[in-house]
């Protein structure tokens, strides 16, 4: 090539590159669409998982935006405690269903003991070495005694079918399930029940709704709880109430019988916060565990907690 020819060629290069772009763009579009799993892929993957899963298995989607599809295809294998879990405690194995080959954060640092591709869906299974859950207090809250302290006197909150409360929708907050403890408070928001609440990160949390009523506590006492090595409590506020960062702190006090064993003062911005209480000294006992919530200002303080008695330490 002569010098002028080379120079002409070099100056033409960007224009030639421009010609390649539409081809690349259309090709990339076709490639991306071709990689999308079909309904059949999902069904076969879900059947595969269903046939090999057992109690204590955890099912997750990776990336997390595929979660609705995993819940659809695995159906009620993903129950509310699993859908709104905190950490992996209580689960022996982790199943990951991924439409894009991603790994869930729970699998970080682990090697899959099983990996299969079903069209566009990759299924992987990992062993977990999470602590055992001796008692999940959220799932036993129906057995609890619930009282609201008014003028220093406890007033019982009645458990039963109370009919629908708020109808739901954006900004309505946590909706009351029909079966709940309803406290005799005219403001209506003082009730207790297990629910799913989104935390400050918009993550679903299976927890006990226990809105503080003011300076005097609302108290939930779960009877006859087996004590393990530790009691792990998580708590937070409903996303829209916490995100403005202008609400009053909420105080959560935990008691074994009359003895205070833990306390959390939750301030806006802290999100889904953990409180770990070492209970090793009383391991093996059975106690009544109480949770009390108070707040100087109870306006827009939808508060929710989860609590589990764990057998031993281990990664969460």
């Amino acid at each position: 090539m002569t010098a002028p020819g080379r120079s002409r060629f070099l100056s033409a290069l960007p224009w030639l590159a421009l010609l390649i772009f539409p081809v690349v763009e259309v090709g990339a579009h076709a490639f991306t669409r071709a990689a999308v799993p079909t309904e059949h892929d999902w069904r076969v993957a879900a059947d595969f998982v269903g046939e090999r899963s057992s109690e204590g298995d955890l099912f997750v989607a990776a990336p997390d935006w595929a979660d609705p599809l995993v819940r659809q295809y695995l159906g009620d294998r993903i129950d509310l405690p699993m859908a709104g879990r905190t950490g992996v405690a209580g689960y022996r194995r982790l199943w990951s269903l991924s439409p894009r080959g991603a790994r869930p954060p729970e699998a970080a640092g682990r090697t899959p003991e099983l990996s299969e591709d079903f069209g566009g869906v990759r299924v992987e299974r990992f062993a977990l070495d999470a602590p055992r859950v001796l008692h999940d207090l959220v799932e036993h809250v129906a057995d609890a005694r619930v009282t609201q302290i008014v003028g220093g006197k406890p007033r019982p909150c009645e458990y039963g079918m109370h009919g629908p409360g708020r109808r739901g929708g954006l900004g309505y907050g946590v909706v009351p399930p029909a079966r709940r403890f309803q406290c005799p408070d005219r403001r209506g928001f003082v009730w207790v029940a297990p629910v799913i609440m989104e935390d400050l990160e918009l993550q679903p949390r299976r927890c006990v709704y226990q809105h503080p009523a003011g300076g005097e506590p609302v108290r939930v006492t779960v009877p006859d709880v087996p004590v393990g090595k530790r009691l792990e409590v998580h708590a937070g506020l409903y996303y829209e109430h916490e995100r403005m960062l202008d609400g009053a702190p909420v105080k959560l006090v935990v008691r074994f019988g009359d003895e205070q064993v833990g306390e959390m003062i939750h301030r806006d911005g802290e999100g889904w916060r953990a409180l770990t209480i070492d209970t090793a000294k009383r391991a093996g006992e059975r106690v009544d565990v109480s949770f009390e919530t108070t707040s100087a200002r109870s306006h827009k303080r939808i508060f929710c907690w989860s609590a589990r008695i764990l057998s031993a330490g281990g990664p969460q």
């Binding site: 224009w15 081809v23 991306t32 819940r71 009620d76 739901g168 929708g169």
Partner: protein, 557 residues
């Protein structure tokens, strides 16, 4: 094919053809797009205004009383009335003549026609500035933008205001050499004011451009009148048309104008997901309009626009150094850059709400499309030189073939974006799955409910109630009145009493998802509407309905 500066009848024929074709495509594709939140509101407003127009025809003195005006025009008085009045008139004409087959179409037709006229105008503007090839490519490039294509179907203001802003700009540009156009500019500005508040920034853009042209002329020793006739016309006609076309302002004028301005200057902040974060309060990310443009405009189109911008910039810089022969005395490139950048800069301000996705800077896109036309025109010249033999052999087919090639990604993406326009992302975002990985907004306005009509048809043969999440009840009912859904499938606000509850997957709607889980005691949807594998809407069945079905099946056996 150098027709720069000249617009012939053929160009208007081309523009009209584009307009008709685009409107036809929009009419054909519209039923697949459910009415969005805002559309439902504007249908209600349009009907209220239609009632007033009828009263005006029958009993003008009664219609013009404050009580009558307020009763009709109070509806949706936070937006000017011109476009909604056109919705009303279109609705009234259809009511008389029965033109459209669906109730939503006379309302939507106004937006569709605006989109068609916009293509016509882009072609004319582009042809006048850079020749027919550039003008035609620009119009097609705009037509094949996925997000504007979605919005072009709607009875909303975003496409009409894009038309209005482009028309004012075109008239302003022509006014630099014709005083008649100054008055047209003023009239168009009045119509733009009466369309949407995006128009407020136009005098500022024009003033900067006008000053530049004047200074440039002085520097080159040329004659140029410093009298801004366009501004005089804007001041004279703009407010008169704005107020005259909006009966709501005929009483308590100043106070109501003040409240209208305050509504938009102090607009509520809504939720918008962006790179995994749900933004709901300022400061908003300044990169939002730039990244969203990169992520949603087909890359090839964007690249050609950048080429066009660079070429125009180089020309302007060269002219700045030495004003030469053949220069553009009116510096169209400066004007176009101003109109392109101003809306995007405005949305970049950390305090400007970003809830509208890309639609709030649509007014920039016609100018981006013209730059794409400039880029294509220049590229074609270079390719013609490089591939002389091919070009020679192909003769007149060379330019169209390369035009098709350069527009192919846009065509493919726009076709595939339907009916999920607001969920669509392009190559820069990794397309739809890539955008989900990046945590970008997946939709807004709840329009994707329209893609569930087949599901509800199949699963609610006896009718029932649906909790419709982000879709308004007015919009949902329109699915029925349009014949897309049986009328006995009704919307409800009450999740617990719904047969099916849906959630539109946007970050902040996690709340509704979890409300459904709590009330239905299940996290398992019975159906997930997806777009390229990404969940768009989840549908849950009320366990009470499921139990009823089981009982019925049991008794049948």
């Amino acid at each position: 094919m150098s027709t720069k500066g000249r617009v012939t009848r053929l160009d208007h024929a081309i523009g009209a053809g584009l307009c008709l074709l685009y409107v036809a495509v929009l009419l054909y594709t519209a039923p697949a797009i459910g009415l969005s939140r805002d559309e439902g509101t504007y249908v209600v407003a349009g009907k209220a205004y239609a009632g007033w127009f009828e009263q005006l025809a029958k009993d003008p003195s009664a219609a013009l009383t404050r009580a009558s005006i307020d009763a009709a025009w109070k509806v949706n008085h936070e937006h000017p009335s011109l476009v909604k009045s056109l919705f009303a008139l279109s609705y009234m004409v259809d009511d008389k003549l029965g033109i459209f087959t669906r109730e939503s179409l006379p309302f939507r037709f106004v937006g569709m026609l605006s989109a068609g006229l916009l293509l016509w105008l882009i072609h004319i503007f582009g042809t006048r500035l850079h020749g027919r090839r550039a003008g035609l490519f620009a119009a097609l490039a705009y037509a094949l933008l996925p997000r504007p294509f979605y919005h072009a179907h709607l009875d909303c203001f975003d496409v009409p205001i894009t038309l209005a802003v482009t028309a004012v700009t075109y008239a302003y540009f022509r006014s630099l050499s014709s005083r008649r156009w100054a008055w047209l500019c003023g009239a168009c500005f009045g119509l733009a004011l009466a369309t949407k508040h995006n128009s407020w920034i136009l005098p500022g853009i024009f003033a900067i451009h006008f000053a530049y042209v004047w200074l440039s002329a002085r520097r080159a020793g040329e004659r140029f009148s410093p009298v801004p006739h366009w501004l005089i016309a804007m001041v004279a006609l703009g407010p008169a048309i704005f107020i005259g076309s909006w009966p709501w302002l005929w009483h308590g004028t100043l106070g109501r104008i003040g409240r209208y301005a305050a509504f938009h200057l102090e607009h509520d902040y809504y939720n918008m997901a962006y790179f995994g974060e749900n933004h709901f309060l300022p400061p908003f990310p300044i990169g939002f309009p730039w990244v969203m443009t990169l992520y949603t405009v087909p890359i090839t189109t964007l690249l050609l626009a950048v080429v066009g911008l660079v070429l125009a910039g180089r020309r302007e810089l060269a002219d700045l150094r030495v004003p030469g022969p053949g220069r553009d005395h009116h510096h169209a490139a400066i004007l176009l850059v101003g109109c392109l950048l101003a809306p995007m800069l405005l949305i970049s301000m950390p305090w400007t709400p970003i809830f509208g996705g890309t639609k709030h800077w649509f007014t920039a896109y016609p100018f981006m499309a013209i730059f794409a036309g400039v880029g294509f025109d220049r590229a074609l010249q270079v390719w013609g030189d490089l591939f002389e033999r091919v070009a020679g052999a192909m003769k007149r087919a060379f330019a169209p073939a390369l035009g098709v090639l350069m527009l192919l990604p846009a065509l493919v993406e726009t076709a595939h974006s339907h009916p999920f326009g607001l969920s669509h992302y392009g190559m820069a975002a990794g397309f739809v799955p890539g955008s989900a990985d990046r945590g970008m907004n997946r939709q807004f306005w709840g329009f994707t409910t329209g893609s569930l009509v087949d599901f509800f048809y199949e699963h609610l043969p006896e009718g029932g109630r649906v909790y419709v999440c982000d879709m308004t009840h007015a919009s949902f009912r329109m699915l029925g009145r349009d014949g897309l859904l049986p009328l006995n499938i009704r919307p409800t606000y009450d999740i617990a009493r719904a047969d099916y509850a849906i959630v539109h997957h946007e970050h902040h709607f996690a709340e509704v998802d979890h409300q459904i889980w709590t009330l239905f005691s299940s996290a398992a949807p019975v159906h997930v509407l997806t777009y390229d594998g990404v969940p768009i809407v989840s549908v849950y069945e009320n366990p009470r309905r499921r139990a009823r079905k089981s009982r019925a099946a049991g008794s049948a056996h």
